[in-house]
Point group: C2
Chain length 329, copies 2
């Protein structure tokens, strides 16, 4: 039997990404299933089970010994109990589900669960853009804005596992109302839906842009991908929209940098498809705003592991269980 392999599952708003990962971060197998979140909690949980069963069967067939299963999920994952707590604005169906207990009913392997952005940070720290750094700030820009923090080489969770919520830093004290109940949260300004919504409104006010042509006049087709595509084709309006997003992100990240003074900021998630120029503009804005002593050695880089970061990091929960979770016994 081959040892030291783990199953990682990354639960997202659209898909469940999963795979078998070695202790060294090699992907032995990977798969994807729709999460079917619109069908409710039981459907989501059924799909997670299906993903794990498929993967375990494949492991058995190939004589790969699975050391455990890790799951990354939106929301605050209580490492002590395994339950998804607090508010889970981007996947409310999962609120109060005890992932750890619930999966333990179906599978004999050790089960670990953590927040989705936390496991992404873990993966980037172990095998990606933050490898070798001690203090790391990770952001995932997508449907929501997630955050993961590595301090002293370990995932940081906070006293009730609710820390690292970078998407819910206030960037405007009297700003937009957030799904989390807060006010002026970064996520309301720089997540993919927020950027798309702002862009739609500007396009409706007759802004000149090749985006109109790219979406064939149908605003429902607008995505951040199309906005970045328009910028690549030299569209000035698209650049203005993206620069504004960088201002929002710079303000939120500068706050976090002034508080945590990390060595490196890693930007991942779908929106980071904007590429190097997008990352450089975020970096510029962070350095314009944050304390010079906190930015003099700071690096701002793009995530390396792409869509695989979630399940790789989830798998690594088995290998590197948090001391806070271990307390659970």
């Amino acid at each position: 039997m081959i040892k030291d392999y783990y199953i990682g599952v990354d639960l997202g708003g659209t898909n469940i990404k999963f795979g078998i990962v070695s202790a060294k971060g090699e992907i032995i197998h990977k798969g994807l299933l729709p999460a079917q979140t619109h069908l409710g909690r039981d459907a989501i949980l059924g799909n997670i089970i299906k993903a794990i069963e498929q993967t375990l069967a494949l492991a058995k067939k190939n004589k790969i010994n699975i050391g455990g299963i890790g799951v990354g999920s939106p929301g605050t994952v209580n490492l002590l109990t395994g339950k998804i707590e607090g508010s889970c604005p981007n996947l409310p169906q999962m609120l109060n589900v005890n992932l750890k207990k619930w999966l333990s009913v179906y599978f004999d392997s050790p089960i670990y669960a953590d927040n989705d952005a936390n496991v992404m940070a873990l993966a980037e720290h172990k095998f990606g853009a933050a490898k070798g750094y001690r203090d790391v700030l990770c952001l995932t820009l997508g449907t929501g804005i997630g955050g993961g923090i590595i301090l002293n080489g370990e995932l940081f969770h906070g006293s009730d596992y609710a820390g690292a919520e970078l998407g819910h830093m206030t960037i405007c004290y009297e700003g937009r109302k957030c799904n989390c109940g807060g006010i002026g949260c970064l996520e309301m300004y720089a997540s993919a839906p927020a950027i798309v919504k702002d862009t739609k409104e500007l396009l409706l006010s007759n802004k000149k842009s090749i985006i109109h042509r790219l979406i064939k006049g149908d605003l429902n087709l607008l995505t951040t991908e199309i906005i970045f595509k328009a910028e690549n084709k030299g569209d000035i309006f698209a650049t203005e929209v993206i620069n504004q997003a960088c201002i929002y992100l710079g303000a939120g990240i500068a706050s976090a940098v002034n508080l945590l003074n990390p060595q490196i900021v890693v930007v991942g998630g779908g929106v980071s498809q904007g590429g190097e120029s997008f990352i450089r503009r975020i970096e510029k804005e962070v350095k314009r705003r944050a304390f010079p002593s906190a930015t003099k050695n700071l690096k701002v880089v793009k995530a390396k592991l792409g869509n695989d970061a979630g399940f790789i990091g989830a798998a690594m929960l088995v290998k590197n269980p948090s001391p806070q979770g271990e307390r659970a016994g």
Copy 2:
């Protein structure tokens, strides 16, 4: 000889507070000298020397064995080198001074230095409002807004000692320009000078308030103390001003709470003279804004050690040197 006593020095914009503190936090002696910051760096340093010399003489006379000297200073204090780095917006005269090296020329005792808000947090954690808590966020509301963070029972500094700058969290991405070079920093809205400035402007626009009488029509006499006094006398305008400050503070603290998920927030410094009602309003605003999972067990309390926190914490640097400083050898 009596052992286990330390000298603590708290350098502020107006005064140098200092004293002899026992390992158990008892104040054996305390004193105060004007910092004379307007006379420049050499005068400030001379006054620090004077404070320490006075205290050492007194210790000698009373046969108190001094184990070392700790100094709290505004700015980013590099624990490795002892130098005040980066921007030091509220006491720029001290920028690039190497406090540790410089005091070592004059005194044989071991010398330690750290940021003033950090040592305040250390004192409140060891002997004050945060005693017994593992994860703590401290704010000092005064001329500036300082921050100190305790994580896992230890002072947190960040990778370049520049962390915990709570006064420089962005609460408004396109807001007021800050002395630190940033934009929309909390300090520009909720420090004593910011509150006084906003209040003056409102009073000039003929707002009805007993403050006009309390300051005998001379706006130069306005202080946060007078605003709180007016509120205590039932002045509605004063309450509006203070509530607005609580909104600013709530936004900044909520960001930090969503990032760090501490167990307790300790509010100290001159402005916290507002008392229990002020603290409760800040708490209410934090809980309205931050993640429910991050606030369900969160306490927001007033600092206990008042003006002594700075020199008590500075003294404790000798007893509890940071591992990050110890690397310096």
